[in-house]
């Protein structure tokens, strides 16, 4: 990590190798398009490489990288004019018929969530970030984040109810 901060490209490549799985997974959940997710993951790593010297604590790299990825996704969402403000009006309909289907259906259920809710739910339940950390990463008010996590989580539970 410290080597990468001094500009060692091979050290940074090793960081990419170690972190790519989780970062690409996170962005795939947010994008629902593997190819686009990989493009955004690449953009996130390049952005991280450019601003790596600003990172104060090397131990915080994982969380910081997730924040970079979230900001990259938000920029993409604004460019693509995704509706981040309004709540999805989809009806709560059960998706899963058994526990075995739940994993497959999690992806389908995430797809049905409003992008803002999806982001908050994935960051909270999938990445284990606190509401405050999500608010920091997105720049949204804490109350908005809490509301997105609560509503999005409730919808997922409704949809995934066996």
């Amino acid at each position: 990590m410290m080597l990468a901060q001094t500009g060692d490209d091979r050290a940074f490549a090793e960081l990419v190798r170690r972190r790519q799985g989780s970062l690409r997974g996170l962005l795939r959940r947010l994008c629902r398009d593997p190819s686009l997710a990989d493009d955004l993951a690449q953009e996130s790593f390049v952005q991280a490489w450019r601003t790596l010297s600003q990172l104060r604590s090397t131990g915080a790299f994982g969380g910081w990288l997730k924040q970079v990825a979230v900001r990259t996704w938000l920029q993409h969402a604004r460019r693509a004019k995704l509706d981040l403000d309004t709540l999805d009006a989809a009806e709560a309909e059960p998706l899963a018929t058994s526990d075995a289907d739940a994993r497959v259906d999690l992806d389908r259920a995430l797809e049905k969530l409003n992008p803002a809710q999806r982001l908050c739910v994935v960051m909270s339940y999938g990445e284990g970030l606190s509401h405050g950390e999500i608010a920091d990463a997105t720049g949204w008010p804490l109350g908005t984040v809490k509301s997105h996590v609560a509503r999005g989580g409730a919808r997922l539970r409704d949809w995934l109810k066996p």
Partner: protein, 111 residues
């Protein structure tokens, strides 16, 4: 944390991570190498463009500079002659008159 929350977390944890892919690492390395070269490339393009611009416009720029110099050489003696003084006074008088007339009657043309 409720059981429902834990169930959701378990579901997220069980869904598979993207496997490590060396092609993706190579892709990022290529993108970083390109970014590293970008400032030098932009500087080289800017210098090439400036050179091209100077080369393409040199005859016109040269002629324009000559005209400006000739014009100054012509206007210098003119403004130090009686005719030049008269021309300056006429210009100033016209400007003052136009300003005064505009202030006095300008409102007549407004709605």
């Amino acid at each position: 944390m409720s059981d429902d929350d834990n169930d959701l977390k378990r579901l997220f944890a069980e869904s598979s991570l993207v496997p490590t892919d060396d092609a993706f690492v190579a892709r990022v390395e290529t993108a970083i190498a390109w970014r590293r070269r970008q400032p030098a490339l932009i500087a080289a393009c800017a210098i090439a463009l400036a050179t091209l611009l100077v080369w393409a416009t040199w005859p016109a720029a040269y002629q324009l500079t000559g005209w400006m110099r000739d014009g100054l050489l012509f206007l210098g003696p003119f403004f130090s002659s009686v005719e030049g003084h008269v021309a300056v006074v006429a210009l100033l008088a016209t400007g003052i008159a136009w300003t005064w007339l505009h202030e006095r009657f300008g409102n007549a043309y407004r709605d």
